[in-house]
Amino acid sequence: MKTFDAQIIANQPVSARYWQMTLDTSALDQPVRPGQFFHIQCGDTWRAPLRRPLSVYHYDQKSRTLKFLYLVKGIGTQQMTLKKKSDIMNLIGPLGHGFTLPKQGALLLIARGVGVATLHALACQARAENKNVHVILSARTPADLLTVDLLAQIGATVYTVTDTERTSSVKSVRALSEKLIREEGISSVYTCGSNRLNKLVQELADEHQLKGELATEAHMACGIGDCYACACTIRKDNQLKTVRVCTDGPVFPISEVVL
């Protein structure tokens, strides 16, 4: 973890509401793991003093380039869209605990909306380790579906479900997931982006004895474990515990998460 400047290689929209930023992070001297995040100064620190947490969407160790996929939401991400090639971004990271890959078996990733930004890096790593990866992408509309082609390109099998096509109900996703669990040797399941899907994955992991992990979100101030802004409750050994998403997470075993 360090504070460093990174130069923008590219920053452009990938759909109506989502942008992608590519950074030259040669200043980084630590490995970056899927599920970890960076705490980013978006622009005008006077009006908007707080940094914004963004997951590693893609990290290339060789070229030391880092990519974020971000939803343009409020003032911070709006300011990010104003940044141009060669501008400098100030980052803290890599932060938090990332995903752990299963020793064996295939992975099932279930992402809703921008949740795919977080799971994408995991898909890449699993494919690099030659594991089978199945990804269910859920979104409001087909136009909101992100990175379908890229995931297919790296050899993941992608299933898309959307609200407008009425294919994204928890019931349908459960049916699809159970089919994959039965047929594809899924040993672990990962999710990010929707509370309803979190619950589903928790149930699936429990019912089918799968390793399961969830990437959580919380409003953050420090991002490094000092301020307790990002508290969430987990259950460990049947005891409720308040932990920090930024340092104890953002990835938690799905069995520990209180939904």
């Binding site: 006077w46 003093p49 490094i224 000092d226 307790y228």
Partner: protein
Amino acid sequence: MTDLSVNIGSLTLQNPVMPASGTFGPELAPLLDINRLGALVPKSVTLSARDGNQTPRICETDGGMINSIGIQSKGVEHYMANILPSYHDFDPPLIASISGETIDEFEQLAARLDKHPDVAALELNISCPNLRDNGQAFGMSAESTFNLLRQVRAATGKPLIAKLTPNVTRIQDIARAAEQGGADALTVANTFLAMAIDTETRKPRIGNIMGGLSGAAVKPLIVRLIFQAHQATNLPIIGSGGIMNGQDAIEMILAGATSVQIGTATFVQPNAMNTITDEITDYLTRHHIDAVTDLIGQVDLR
């Protein structure tokens, strides 16, 4: 050579820059030279364990932020067993911030920490807006401030720093009450009780409805409070609220502060306290001032 050292009661600090409680921890070590701080101030500790408030616990406002962390603490025993040791290898003196729901709790906390060799002083958080209903705090009444200080004073020989609340009609009265009760110094001040509503969801943007405002937005109010408290008492004052750079720190020192605490600025840039210390040195050099203490309260009123 510019002399940055200042005294807070019997405590000598190598420079006036220290963290504000709740915004600092040993986790900062890779990002900040902790040994260059004037003092260390960990998060406020309570007598027994507390879980803190509902989430969201923070939100951003124009030029500031609201927090309602609500003192998440594992209690004073855990503090002595785990928190204090995590600072043991750093050089600057440690100021323990303590927070209680009753005067007796403050007293017990002080008594419990009184003999601890790693605790150089106690900061009494009599001003947290996030503990009781509607932001009530001991520091809102001169009488309870006086009583609290007197009782804690009897329990410990360590320097006592009363952290005042800005949410009062006359800070002068509270400052004097703290002085008479036996405080060695004042921190001016804690956060301002504040609220923000998301107009789309119509929900409060803080789980606890209200919280404490900090950051650049509050600086002009804090400068005024420091000026008033400095006129009302002889106690050294630690200015806190909205300091973003060295110039802000100098402004508070001119208003009457001896030392300053930095909170929100650390979230903006984790090494802010080091930068601010450098900027104070630069200012003194540029103005040919030998010692930072020469500036305390030196606002020129003509």
